[in-house]
Homo-oligomer: 300 residues x 2
């Protein structure tokens, strides 16, 4: 199970009560923060997201609307007495900025902060139930997309059948992982005879900020949920190109070509007070599109 | 006329819907921002404070809850096309942090940002109707208080009397500034004969963050409004001392000894959900005390 909560859905200048980018992806085991615009810790309080649950933070790029809330959040975690280590993944220059901010504050964190500079595409984190990897998107400055993939789920044991085959319970965890059983007589009991497949592993891809960029298609191929920025409506395509952003139609085209299951659009420009047109335009190209709305939780 | 609007009244960790420190001081001519905690630009939007009106920003010290909203605000001003120059006064290390944040974002501001490192006590700004000066308060790191003083107001002309003395209107502006008039016969018409004193100039002093520090008394002597931090209730005096903060009673004692007209207390610790006790404790020592409440405008 993956669940995505939107904490900020606006582009650079906060407007109409909308906040800069931040999202929380939760698994049964972990809580990840994706980007951390100004005010993210206040948004977390508003939507009952516990700061203490976050184990890893991923920052896509160093435009302020994607990280100006970070050092405040890291400081609050310390003031609240966090002891669990915390991993931050971001373009390398961020480490210097954070360090300087802690230095001038004469701050000493209560926990171990481990900074990982993102320098190449590929695996960033390998947790119990999920892997996280980075891929390049195309923006005015270096910018990374993130792919969260659940690991293959354990198979479900058919209790009637394992008993019928007299398989000892000490072998159950191996059955869950797909192994066949060989009994005392040397007979192979195929795994499929005594287990059912579990729920299919889910995946989530995050693409912000990016111009329309066809390399993204391969990187997000077939995911269950794709978040793709759609800063502008189609009428402002030239502006989108000039600012290395995407339109509704471009985001939906990526979703369609990548054959994802569902598309979520966000990072709306402060030009627009209402968002109805965004979902209308994108849905015309890719039907299963939703707006990223602050406070909403999207089950994957 | 001076008017102070509170944008944030909480200490480091935002809590109970309260935000980190920021205040707007407005004169008829200017708008000053005092400290700029995370989310200040959102608070400005909430309380209809126009970003474009601000001409000078004063940052007391480099704990994040007093400046983490600054670079976001500066960026938004640029994205909204500001052309008017902007002055920022702060401890010198802030310049390096801001510069680095703009550098990694490949940002170029639309306006001229003039950074003034605060290094000694004394005059910071001399505007048409007001002067701003800095004084040292005592905190865990270098921290500055700010004193805003209206200049001597122009005297009001008594129209009946200037006509009776046949004083030409070309001399009126000199009368307003307090000069005597000498008529053609060489007779001196004393200024007091033909003018009334204007409204007394007002003053506002800002003391945050600071431990109880008696030097503050001289620095804020007799001001019309004193803002003094009161992070803790009296029961937590030891904690206040340990963290270089003040209690309600200490803030009120400074107000009383400095013989100020009115005291405003704020920077409340996240330990406290309600604030009634704060005003109760402080008022017992200095009667004319009010809580700094977000969104409230205090006329001086």
């Amino acid at each position: 199970m993956l669940a995505l909560t939107i904490l900020g859905n606006n582009s650079a200048v906060p407007a109409f009560g909308r906040n800069p980018t931040a999202q929380i992806l939760q698994t049964l085991e972990e809580s990840y923060l994706i980007d951390c615009g100004e005010g993210t810790q206040m948004q977390m309080a508003r939507y009952k997201i516990r700061r203490s649950k976050i184990s890893r933070i991923f920052i896509s790029h160093l435009h302020g609307d994607h990280y100006f809330g970070l050092t405040g959040l890291l400081t609050s975690m310390s003031l609240l007495g966090r002891t669990q280590e915390l991993h931050v993944y971001a373009p390398k220059e961020l480490e210097e900025i954070i360090s300087k901010q802690f230095e001038v504050a004469a701050a000493k964190l209560s926990y171990n902060l481990i900074f990982h500079a993102i320098t190449t595409e590929g695996l960033l984190a390998d947790d119990k139930t999920i892997t996280v990897s980075a891929f390049k998107v195309k923006h005015r400055i270096e910018c990374w997309g993130f792919l969260f993939k659940e690991k293959k789920k354990l198979r479900n044991i058919d209790i009637e059948r394992v008993k019928a085959y007299e398989i000892p319970s000490s072998f159950y965890s191996k059955l869950q992982q797909g192994e066949d059983y060989i009994n005392k007589k040397g007979t192979i009991i195929p795994n499929e005879e005594v287990t059912h497949s579990g729920v299919a592993p889910k995946s989530y891809a995050y693409c912000a900020d990016t111009v329309y960029y066809e390399s993204n298609i391969d990187n997000v191929k077939g995911v269950d949920l794709l978040y793709h920025e759609a800063t502008y409506l189609q009428a402002h395509t030239e502006r989108a190109i000039a600012h290395f952003h995407s339109t509704t139609v471009q985001a939906a085209t990526i979703a369609q070509k990548a054959e994802v299951k569902k598309l979520l659009i966000g990072h709306f420009s402060s030009k627009y007070e209402t968002l109805d047109e965004f979902v209308k335009e994108a849905s015309a190209v890719f039907t299963n599109t939703e707006l990223a709305i602050e406070g909403m939780c999207y089950k994957i």
